[in-house]
Amino acid sequence: MSVIAPKFRLGYFLKSLTDNIFWIIVLLTLVGIPAIMIVLFFIDLPVLDGVLLTPFLAFTMMFHPELAVPVVKSLLYSDFFRIAAFPGFGFAALLAAGTIFAERKLLAKLQLRVGPFYCGKFEGILQLMADGLKLISKEIIIPAKADKPIFWTAPVLFVATAAAFVSLIPVAPGWVVADLDVGLLAVFAIIGFFPIITILSAWSANSKFPFIGGIRALHQMVSFEIPLILSLLGVVILTGTLNLSEIVESQSNYWFIAFLPIGAIVFFISMLAELERIPFDLPEAESEIVAGWLTEFSGMIYGLVQLGSYLKLYAFAALFVVLFLGGWQGPMVVPPFPAEIITHGIEAGPITVQVPGLPITTQEMLNGTLWFTLKTVAVIFFILIPRGVFPRIRIDMLLSIGWNKLIALAFINIFIALGLLYAGVLGPGGLL
């Protein structure tokens, strides 16, 4: 039976239009507006010039445009924006989506072919949206003997843990979702959750191939956590603090990778193993165990797992940048905000419009974000390239690398760091 589009009839088209409009109006009035009212009941509204900004007052912004900029600024500095948009989930998800697209295009170019090409006018740029829509519209099939509560919650937990990891990374001076004094330790506490979630999702699927994949993932992640932590001890020794923002501040003269290259390499390799990227993608080895612990996931659950994976990739790359490549430090390339606009206002023909509270973001924040994004993109490039170049590694080779060679190299790194510290070259009170 071939599905050919039925002929166009104006009556059907108008009927479908009015149906859609009807449902949109019904949903807005019966569900949308009450939901907004309830939410506004609970969020703290910002205070401007001593006046509490109610929704009515927000509507008066149409008549008082000079109130617009302070409202936007106060929204930008609120906690909600920080968690949801920048530097939290929204920024990370945007970079993750960009990473997926860039990975497909980069790999295609390396393999002398075209990647996504037809979705979107320019070289398939809307491919991710098409994939997302496809995954949402698919049926989620759950095996009959699977453990249903855990099967449903495991991917959600995965994304939640990845998002918690993202929330600890500082993007610009003062812009971090959770500024903890023991930030680095919290990072490792969160990383310790990932093997548990993987083994839960593998076990709950109640099938042979996910079982093998889950066991392999457990071995891999646990055995590479130790070199990961050890390789960072060099950085902690040199800075004396676990707070991620302060680690970045202390790299203002030099980057740690210049003095601790071995630690950076060990961290990079352990990072590839934690992320299950090729060459370490055994838990998802397609030719041996169908799809490893992801075998039984279909539809949007699979989409959630992919989102979690790529959020983790962004977070690890950002952590590498923060620890070894100097975070947001970099020469100032952003021009300063022109001062006349603050004092005089914007010249628009004969009139001069006064816009109070204008510099919404500071020059340091823009500069810091720019350098951070550039460095993270460079690190992500180096994470993506091995996918096209190396085959998959075997489990016994992986365990021998993780437990023997990387731990030895990490210890050598610690000795180098201690040597540099006690020789008075680096660290507080040192030469640099």
């Binding site: 393999q111 090729i278 993608d281 055994l282």
Partner: protein, 377 residues
């Protein structure tokens, strides 16, 4: 168990430790064949290959068709190596009917046969790469295969299943400037093949993964009757093109690549070295080919052989491929038997996979140069 089992069946004792994995036809790591693997932790305890998923009865069907109509059928077991599987059939029928093939036809046959070796081996290499998780090694051979397939399309008219060889020669002559295009594309293909060395054959991860796995010693290789690249990777210098030359192979300089160790790494490297050798053979054949001449001997309608039988062998991508034809003075052959390299090499699989780690299974299995469709015929 009080019920009596029918004779011939036995109960299997189930061990708690051993898990049976069905690396079956619906699996990204098996081709179209079923392997029943019993695993103890990470070690394979026993492997039971189960061929026959794509058995079509080619040999039986050949008994109902005459010598010419058999050609589109007998080339289907290996669709991209179709010239090589028709080669012994055509040589056999030519001997039965007493036909003399012209010189130019022999050279064109050699060129087509070597081009088919490219298409088959690159396809095999692509799948070997993806079995090991190397996606680039899947894309590059598939893309480079286009050069050989493009040449075959210009020559024979079809990309795969060429139906090009007939008893008496080939079906049509090469088109006008085929030699120049062929030379240019073969030179570029050789350049591309050499770039595989850096990224695949000298890749330390691949070497660590495939060296010393699935070792087939020289005596075992001879004893089990293996053939083709599997035999040459175990140190035995036997290539049907040099030891039993057919057509014009005795006038061409064919160098056989023999490697010593007999592990998966050597078995994966020998076809690549063979491909580099094929480039030289094609260049020599293009030089020595007579510039004009007929390429086909006219056949009488409904050709019949006498009461005779003939066996001819050819070196295909997988190994020696033999066709045994029995004729009884009728237009149809009485019996056609295909002796294919894949099925002969299949015997090694239970021996080689026992005691291996599960991670080595794809590497060893596919390195035996196994093509499931051909083994099932």
């Amino acid at each position: 168990m009080t019920a009596r089992l029918p004779p011939g069946l036995q109960l299997e004792k189930v061990d708690d430790r051993i898990m049976t994995l069905n690396v079956g036809p619906q699996h990204p790591g098996s081709g179209h064949m079923r392997l029943i693997i019993k695993v103890d932790g990470d070690y394979i305890v026993s492997c039971d290959p189960d061929p026959g998923y794509v058995h079509r009865g080619e040999e039986k069907m050949a008994e109902y068709r005459n010598y010419i109509t058999n050609i589109p059928h007998l080339e289907r077991p290996v669709i991209h190596d179709s010239c090589n599987i028709l080669y012994p059939y055509c040589l056999g029928v030519e001997e039965l009917l007493g036909l003399e093939v012209p010189e130019r036809a022999k050279y064109v046959r050699v060129i087509a046969s070597e081009l088919n070796r490219f298409t088959y081996t690159l396809y095999w290499l692509g799948i070997y790469g993806i079995f090991l998780g190397h996606s680039t090694m899947f894309m590059w051979p598939m893309g480079d295969r286009e050069f050989a397939i493009d040449l075959l399309e210009k020559l024979t008219g079809a990309r795969v299943t060429h139906s090009y060889f007939v008893p008496g020669g080939v079906r049509n002559d090469a088109p006008a400037n085929f030699e120049d295009v062929c030379l240019r594309q073969i030179n570029y293909l050789e350049k591309r093949l050499k770039t595989y060395a850096d990224i695949f054959y000298d890749n330390p991860i691949l070497i660590a993964r495939t060296e010393k796995t699935g070792v087939l010693s020289r005596e075992d290789a001879i004893r089990l009757g293996t053939t083709g690249t599997v035999l040459r990777a175990s140190g035995v210098d036997y290539d049907v093109r040099t030891k039993e030359p057919y057509d014009v192979y005795d006038e061409l300089d064919v160098h056989t690549n023999v490697l010593k160790n007999g592990d998966s790494y050597d078995r994966s490297k020998t076809p690549w070295l063979d491909m580099l050798e094929s480039c030289n053979i094609i260049r020599q054949a293009l030089e020595k080919m007579p510039k004009s001449g007929s390429v086909r001997v006219k056949l009488k309608p409904n050709p019949k052989g006498g009461n005779d039988e003939v066996y001819k062998r050819v070196e295909s991508g997988r190994g020696s491929l033999g066709v045994y034809i029995v004729s009884r003075s009728k237009p149809e052959p009485y019996r056609v038997k295909l002796s294919v390299g894949s099925f002969r090499n299949l015997i090694c699989m239970p021996y080689l996979l026992k005691g291996e780690k599960l991670g080595n299974m794809p590497a060893v299995y596919w390195s035996l140069n196994y093509w499931p469709v051909e083994a099932d015929r």
